[in-house]
Amino acid sequence: MTQLAGYRPPYPGTQPNHLHPPYVSSRKRAPTKPLVPIPFTLTEITGPSFGTEILPPKACDLTRLRGGEAIGERIVVSGRVLDENSRPVPNTLIEIWQANAAGRYHHEVDKHDAPLDPNFAGSGKTITDSEGRYRFLTIRPGEYPWGNHYNAWRPAHIHFSIFGPAFATRLVTQMFFPGDPLLAFDPIFNCTADEKARNRLISVFDWETTSPDYSLGYRFDLILRGREATPMGDKLGE
C-alpha cells in the first residue's frame, strides 16, 4: 500500500476568480454556480509527461524562420520551474507563444493593423533540464490593442503553458516586462487581490543572460503547486 499526498491550495488572493468583471470576456464564460470541491484521487495526482523526442528542432529559438531573421529586439527569456517547496521541477514541457515586435499575432483572428513578420516563429517549446531550468531566444513582443474597453492595450507579454508532474499542477500564465506603463491598466494582469502575486508575473532584467552585442536577458521563474505534507489518506489498491 502506498500513501500519496495531495497538492496545496493557493495562498489567499494569489489566484484569480473565474469571474473578473473588468475582464469583459469572463462575464459570459465564468461558471455561475459554485465549483464542487473534490478530494485528490489518483486521477489528479498523476498527469501526462513528454520526452524531448517530441520537440521539433530549434524549438526554443523563435528568432529564425524561413531562412531569415525576425525583426525586433532579441531577448533571452530564461528561468527555473520550482514547486512551492523550492524543489526544481525537471523534465516538464513548457510552451510559449507571443505577438511579434510590432504587436501582431500570426493568427487569423488577429486583425490588428500591424505588420506580420514572416521570419518570426511566434511560438516555442522546451523541456526543463534536471535542475528545472529552461531558456528561450525570442524577440521582445510589442504591445497590442484589444476590444475590452475604449482604447484598451495589452502590456507586452509572453504566454506560458506548463504541465508539471500532475493534472493538479497544470498552469497557463503570462510573463510581463518591467516598467511597462500599460500594466496598471490591464484587467488581466490585475486579476488578483494580492499585488505581490501579480508583480511576480513581471520578469526581471538579468545581466547574467545578457550577451554582449547580441541580446538582453530577462529572468522569469515559474512556481507550481507544492505537495501537502500529509498523505491524503487514500490507499492505492494493490
Binding site: 502506498t2 495531495g6 497538492y7 493557493p10 495562498y11 494569489t14 489566484q15 484569480p16 476568480n17 473565474h18 473578473h20 470576456s25 469572463s26 459570459k28 464564460r29 465564468a30 461558471p31 455561475t32 454556480k33 470541491p37 473534490i38 478530494p39 484521487t41 489518483l42 486521477t43 498523476t46 498527469g47 501526462p48 509527461s49 514547486d83 512551492e84 517547496n85 510552451e95 507563444w97 499575432y105 500570426h106 493568427h107 483572428v109 488577429d110 511560438s123 504566454h159 500532475a166 493534472f167 497544470r170 498552469l171 497557463v172 500564465t173 503570462q174 488581466i188 494582469f189 486579476c191 488578483t192 511576480r200 515559474l222 512556481i223 503547486r225 507544492g226 487514500d234 490507499k235 492505492l236
Partner: protein
C-alpha cells in the same frame, strides 16, 4: 517562507499559435486494448452561443485502470501505445471531437473504486484559470456510487455523463455549458 504558485492567466484568443502542435485527438496508439469511443460535443457560453476559441485537455487511465505515471504503483498493465493524454481545439462552431478508449476503474478516496472517467481541463479566452471537470460513460452501473459523482447534487450529475447518440454505440456526445440552468459541473481542485 515557502514560494507561492504563479498566478494563472488566460490563454487568450491566440493559444492556437502555441498549442496546436500538440493536438492529440486520437489517444489510441498501436496495440491498445479497450472499448473505443468517439467523443464529440460543443462548448456554449452564457448566451447559449458556441465558444469558438477553447481548448480541452484530457487525462485518463488505460483500459486496465492504470495511469502512465510513476505515482500509479498499482499492479496493473501499462500499454506503451497509450499515454492517456489528449488535447483538442474547438472549431469555429465550438465543436470538438476525439477518439479514445473507455478507461478501467481507478481507486478513489478510502480505497473505494471510481467509475471510469476522463479528467478534463478547459482553457479559453475569458477564463483567467482553467476549468476542471470530468466526463463519465453512459449506462455504467458504477456511476451510481462513484465517490466523486456522488458529491454532486443528483440533478446536476447528468452534466458529467456523456450521452449515446444516433451515430451508433461507439459515438458519445458530451457538451460543456459554461453558464445557465444546465451549467456543467466544474470541480474545485484548489486552483
Amino acid at each position: 517562507m515557502s514560494l507561492q504558485t504563479t498566478t494563472s492567466q488566460t490563454v487568450g484568443p491566440y493559444f492556437g499559435i502555441g498549442m496546436t502542435w500538440l493536438i492529440r485527438d486520437n489517444l489510441i496508439g498501436e496495440g491498445v486494448s479497450g472499448d473505443r469511443f468517439t467523443i464529440q460535443g460543443r462548448v456554449f457560453d452564457g448566451d447559449g452561443l458556441p465558444v469558438p476559441d477553447a481548448i480541452l485537455e484530457i487525462w485518463q487511465a488505460n483500459a486496465h485502470g492504470k495511469y502512465d505515471h510513476p505515482e500509479d504503483t498499482q499492479r496493473k498493465l501499462l500499454e506503451p501505445g497509450f499515454k492517456g493524454y489528449g488535447r483538442v481545439l474547438v472549431s469555429h462552431e465550438g465543436m470538438f471531437r476525439f477518439v479514445t478508449i473507455k478507461p478501467g476503474s481507478v481507486p478513489g478516496p478510502k480505497g473505494k473504486e471510481q467509475a471510469p472517467h476522463l479528467a478534463i481541463s478547459i482553457f479559453m479566452r475569458g477564463l483567467l484559470k482553467r476549468l476542471v471537470t470530468r466526463m463519465y460513460f453512459p449506462d455504467d452501473p458504477r456511476n451510481a456510487d462513484d465517490p466523486i459523482l456522488t458529491l454532486v447534487e443528483p440533478e446536476r450529475r447528468s452534466t458529467l455523463i456523456a450521452r449515446k447518440t444516433a451515430g451508433g454505440a461507439g459515438t458519445l456526445e458530451w457538451n460543456v455549458l459554461l453558464q445557465g440552468p444546465d451549467e456543467t459541473v466544474f470541480f474545485d481542485v484548489g486552483l
